[in-house]
Subunit: 414 residues, 2 copies
């Protein structure tokens, strides 16, 4: 079965926000076997919405749309649904009671006429009750196509997706099996990989598709299979990936996990009863922020010292002034001393330290722009390495975070 | 003039990546007066791409597409362009020389047949030379519609946009003036604002559009105007916004800047010759990471202590154990002591400290989930406040970062 995702809102078209809803929906639909034909972002405009509906009608089985359900005049989705379905809005007392409850509890203001309008829903829609907000979801059907409208607030949208959309799709449609699996490779460019595996690629069966996803020093290879049985497809994909080991085995670093790498690291730390601290200069707290973003980080994460100014490396992390003077602040001895210093102060037993020069200016360091030293200490090993990442600050930050995680993952998990 | 943005790649449809290219392009086009009719994300599939082309042909003046220009078999954009334009690929020696140069310099591997294929371009295209990669951009025209194809790698795409796309559009089209300006309001829900400003809203002239953008405790009001003269439109918008002060003045907190709030804070710190440090518990380094992400942060940012574990608040930030025992770790006295401690250790003179309980578990604190204390010290003022943000970890992190920035901005800039 195929679906269109439609995200409604001028803020997307003028680049005022990045459309993360579409990616969330794409992932959720793909996971249960719904093939997304396209994502379409359009204006808060009746004509544009109606055109997108007509184009989807009977071409796809399902249209999932987000946005345009607020109480204000620029929100037109509900009226457009009524026009397309030749329906009209009716007052829903249960929705009104819920809106009144939310207002008395959180807004501490009386409900006004605009809020009251959110209790008006198309008479033929199946209501997807939104316990977390005032905009209800709607499920409607015309001929062979189901139209589902969800609020644009990501938090509310996600709630309705897991509570109603996914179960509703499973109940209403017979779904094929779709399987995606992504192999991680490091150290070879995509064209070189493609040349090496070209016989393998040409022999892929028609129901299995290969994609190359190159990104900052690594190339991910994704196989996507479509069929009737998930387990059979997964076996086929695994057998195909196995056949790559004799060809590019030393460049393969496992598979992309459903779990982000920082979660895998956290789980490994918990399993070993280790605790982590970071000493960050060039990454400026990005590593600490990445670990602590996740619930449960306090089970293994002690803390971090962000010694952005050179003098703090001495003042808070006890890096000797002589070492800094002799080797310069971007150097392996300084990185290692930072890693040791943060262990001493936090009583953690695993540490990651970064010192580097991301540019655009050269700063206090002698090192060329793009030079980064990463040190890692664990009870089983000490590692320090220098990397030359290039001239671009944003990319240097991302590359350093990726590399630090890769090194730590390598020691703790592989 | 109107444009479609087409982003090509299955990785977008299955939610493997978030499509940030579309937002970047939307913003860049909007800025010079190009109205984006829609953003469309489609599969790496000839039929899907051709359908999107046909649908755009003569409906919009410009189609900007990204992706599908790599050297591997799954990249089909160039072949599809040839089919659509009834054109064929020709070998471009200058592109080949550039690819060979990149390979000898960075890849340290010989150029293979696949790389060579990247030097083949449609014979009628205007080449947009990509100095930062092997995939060239292309500019082609059919009847009244220009088609521009750009690589999907964000860094390379952005380079071609500023170097060729924007100047090319300015040269080839007569552009209307588009102006967007966004007012920030705090403390009123969108429906309450809408009720209060309803007379004002109904009197808006037809060429000026209002949007409500509610988000975590604030509502942004965006006015978008279309006309022929940028200065006149801006005057009109400013006059309209001025008329809101008598109605909701005390809830207005200025305008959304082109500059992110952390850059505005950084500039204010530099102007006052102040230096900043953060002491972060619940935000886990997110504030430090936000400031240091930007070039030039070393001019005002000293560093941070992320005292995630309770004992580090004492060990590194000198918060007395008695204060923690008496008031609990999530409390205003602890936040204030953290702010003082980090000033002492870093010799900064402005500090922000956060301590809170983001959930889902209650942790070491007595405080309810969602309770956050933020302390700020500057040479002119000391502030400490407690907030109750709610039950959801991700939102609590974002709300705390927003609130800390808002408070600091309020002291330094307003």
């Amino acid at each position: 079965m195929r679906a269109d995702i439609i995200t409604i809102g001028d803020e997307i078209l003028i680049g005022q926000i990045v459309d993360t809803n579409a990616a969330f929906l794409g992932k959720a639909l793909n996971k249960i076997g719904v093939e997304v034909r396209q994502i379409r972002s359009i204006s808060d405009d009746k004509t544009a919405i109606l055109e997108a509906f007509s184009e989807a009608q009977n071409s796809v089985d399902l249209v999932v749309m987000t946005g345009g359900l607020g109480p204000t005049k620029d929100d037109v989705t509900k009226h457009t649904l009524c026009e397309y379905f030749d329906d009209s809005l009716v007052f829903c007392p249960d929705v009104m009671a819920h809106i009144e409850m939310l207002f008395s509890k959180y807004v501490k203001a009386p409900v006004n006429a605009l809020n009251r309008s959110q209790a008006m829903l198309p008479s033929t829609c199946k209501q997807l009750f939104n316990h977390h907000g005032t905009a209800m979801g709607m499920w409607m059907q015309k001929e062979n196509t189901v139209f589902v409208s969800l609020p644009g607030v990501p938090f509310e949208m996600k709630y309705l997706v897991s509570k109603y959309l996914i179960p509703g799709i499973k109940e209403s449609f017979s779904l094929p099996a779709l399987v995606n699996k992504t192999m991680m490779t490091y150290g070879l460019g995509e064209s070189i990989i493609a040349e090496k595996i070209s016989d393998w690629e040409h022999a892929l069966p028609p129901h299995i598709k290969l994609a190359y996803l190159p990104n900052l020093g690594r190339v991910r290879l994704r196989l996507s299979a479509k069929g009737t049985d998930q387990a059979i497809l997964l076996n086929e994909i695994d057998a195909l990936f196995d056949a790559l080991y004799p060809i590019i085995g030393e460049n393969i670093k496992g598979f992309e996990s459903e779990e982000p790498i920082e979660i895998q690291i956290g789980n490994a730390l918990i399993a070993k009863n280790y605790s982590l601290a970071t000493a960050e200069s060039c990454t400026g707290g990005a590593l600490a922020a990445l670990f602590t973003k996740n619930a449960g980080a306090s089970a293994y994460f002690k803390g971090s010292v962000v010694s952005y100014a050179t003098e703090l490396k001495h003042a808070i992390l006890d890096v000797s002034k002589d070492v800094i003077a002799k080797h310069s602040v971007v150097s392996e001895p300084v990185a290692m001393a930072m890693a040791r210093g943060v262990l001493r102060h936090t009583k953690a037993n695993v540490s990651v330290a970064t010192t580097g020069n991301f540019g655009p200016a050269k700063g206090d360091a002698d090192a060329e722009i793009g030079t980064v030293c990463i040190a890692i200490i664990t009870p089983e090993r000490e590692v320090v390495e220098t990397f030359c990442f290039g001239k671009h600050r944003d990319r240097n930050l991302q590359k350093t975070v990726n590399k630090a995680l890769e090194l730590l993952h390598g020691i703790l998990v592989d």
